[in-house]
């Protein structure tokens, strides 16, 4: 059991890390999102190994859905139609690598230098049940807040992204009042009046 678990963990973590790394090494966004999904699924499976069936599965499913959405998004909105063209857009690369390595090394060091708690979960414990009790008991308020947050997120996301509303184009007139009535609003404005430009190689 132990050996198999260890082997599975090794394999899954390798997959998680490698695919995670590949996310930023591929030149297609769609591919990147599928790689990310892979990483998530690997982590979800590790969680299953860690005796967290509910969370593990939730992760797997949620992320699968989420990555689909992401891929869809890229196809729908982004400058890279179909998201299939090769592309690689990075900045402050050295620094980013350094930061990543630093974060990894630092966290690892902290982990190694810390006297970690050791209190294994009882394999037979009704973990899902416990979670349910927690959610509707002790941590009720947190759960409720999370619910409100999701509601607020939906409202916000809809407001920001919807193209048209009940009264026509949703964003028409959605700007500050003019400095004089009917005039232009005060303050700085984008140089090209809102035009961005793309950074293709």
């Amino acid at each position: 059991m132990g050996l198999i678990d260890d082997a599975a963990f090794l394999l899954l973590s390798t997959v998680a890390i490698l695919s995670g790394w590949r996310v930023f090494a591929t030149d297609s966004m769609v591919r990147a999102s599928f790689l990310l999904m892979m990483s998530f699924i690997a982590v979800g499976l590790i969680m299953l190994l860690l005796a967290a069936p509910y969370i593990g599965l939730a992760t797997v499913f949620m992320m699968a859905v989420e990555m689909m959405v992401m891929a869809l998004f890229m196809v729908m909105f982004m400058m890279n139609p179909a998201g299939l063209n090769p592309m690689m857009m990075v900045h402050q690369h050295q620094l980013a690598i350094g930061a990543g390595v630093f974060a990894f090394v630092g966290l690892t060091a902290a982990v190694l230098f810390t006297d970690l708690p050791d209190d294994r979960v009882d394999p037979g414990a009704p973990v899902v049940h416990d979670l349910g009790v927690e959610l509707l008991g002790n941590s009720m308020l947190i759960f409720e807040t999370a619910g409100v947050t999701l509601l607020a997120t939906m409202v916000g996301a809809v407001v920001l992204s919807s193209r048209s509303g009940r009264f026509g184009a949703a964003d028409e007139g959605s700007r500050p009042p003019g400095l004089e009535v009917g005039g232009e609003p005060a303050g700085r404005q984008p140089v090209q009046g809102g035009g961005g430009h793309h950074h293709h190689h």
Binding site: G106, L107, A109, A110, V111, F113, T114, D115, L116, P117, G137, N138, S139, M140, L141, I142, T145, A146, V148, T149, L151, A152, T153, V155, G156, V159, L160, G165, R166, F167, G168, A169, A170, D171, E172, G173, S174, R175, P176, P177, G178, L179, E180, V181, P185, A186, G187, R188, Q189, P190, G193, G194
Partner: protein, 473 residues
Amino acid sequence: MPLGDILPEIAVLLTAVAVLLAATFLPRDRQAWCAWLALVGIAVSLLLCTMQVGSSRLTFSGVWALDGASTWARLMILATTAVALGLSPDWVKTDRRHGEFYAVLLFSCLGAMALAGASDLMQVVMGALLSSVTGYTLAAYHRDWGTSVEAGMKYFLVGALANTVMVTGVVLMLGMAGTTDFAKMETALGAGASAPLLMLGFGLVVVGLAFKLGAVPAHAWMPDVAEAAPVPAAAFLTVAPKIGAAIALARLVDLFPTDAFAIRPVIAVLSVLTMTLGNLAALWQDDVRRLIGWSSVSQSGYALMAVTVVGLTEQAIPALLFFLLGYAAANLAAFAVVGHLRGRTDRRDYAGLAATRPVAATILVLSFLSLVGIPPLAGFVGKLELFVATIEGGYAWLAIVAIANTVASLFYYLRVIGPLSFGKAEGSQPQILGRWSSACMTIGGASIVVLGLAAGTLLALFQTASLLPVTAS
């Protein structure tokens, strides 16, 4: 389930939902009704919250703190929301979906309140998250205005990283302390074990809260939002989340025993960096809104002074509360003036305002002087309390740094006040937004003065304000 303990929040939530529904069904020219509806909700909530004054207990299995700090902070947040709501209708009325604006504002208010009352790291995370997502939305609400969406996007990007960092920190702290419940954590930390991973987690949580607070190193959004978000949103976002986060951070710092962990000096350094950076960056600012934004950063630094000495002196919590109150009043008044003047923001455009719009000019001057800490305005009493607390807490050097910063800050406020008072107006009289902005402005200006003069009463109330789970020794 002690629902009674969160009645004010429930009131806000229900109002938000009601506003949302109303926004969906009301005809376009009646969308402003949503604002009044929201105001009524806030009023009810304020009333309910007032009834909680004096209570000091943990509820919802220790997740929610009903103590002086929380109650007063939530009252301030509600009042802030009310002012922002009052400013809003005239400002966003050209927007076709401004009904939702009020709803999001209410949700955001809820988030800040959740932060202020949170007595559990997970609740802190949720509060921060709720406050953040609504904040992004508010900042980017002018979807047809380039800088507004830019500000929202930047706010989001900084916030997303900060929240991620915070969540990581919370996980680490949970792992090391075995709990996220403050009361239990206090016991765990009382043992004095300072594992690297725990400190790491704490540091990351501090960064996450620094984002809400607008403190270094996650302050970058503050000037952008102040400059480009809709003015009511800017007014709200530079104030309300800060109040919540300051209380949350104070609560967190208070968990650590005063002798075993050297976290307070670190907070002090953060405070110094924040106030200095904010002031320096504001020094040559020509855009008044941005200037207020940077000054808000520096004010976060001052607020951190009180957080530094939490647990070291009884004055820390009264100082923090009153400082936040004074800051909120002054900042809201300043934004109200800007809003009232239809977003007028170039420093040079303010020339001669004292002659053309004397009331607005007076209130702006008052609010700036209050932010400097000129007596007897509210800001003065706040700073006084801060100085008393820091000196009593053994951080006199911090007070000296704050003083140097205050002097520097006077310089840039005067860069606005000067032309405003002494300059010659060019062109016609500046146009204004409407009666509601005028009312907000007046309320803000009056409260700066009244809060200063009536400081005694309030401070006496704050004096008894407890901070659970640890009461200041």
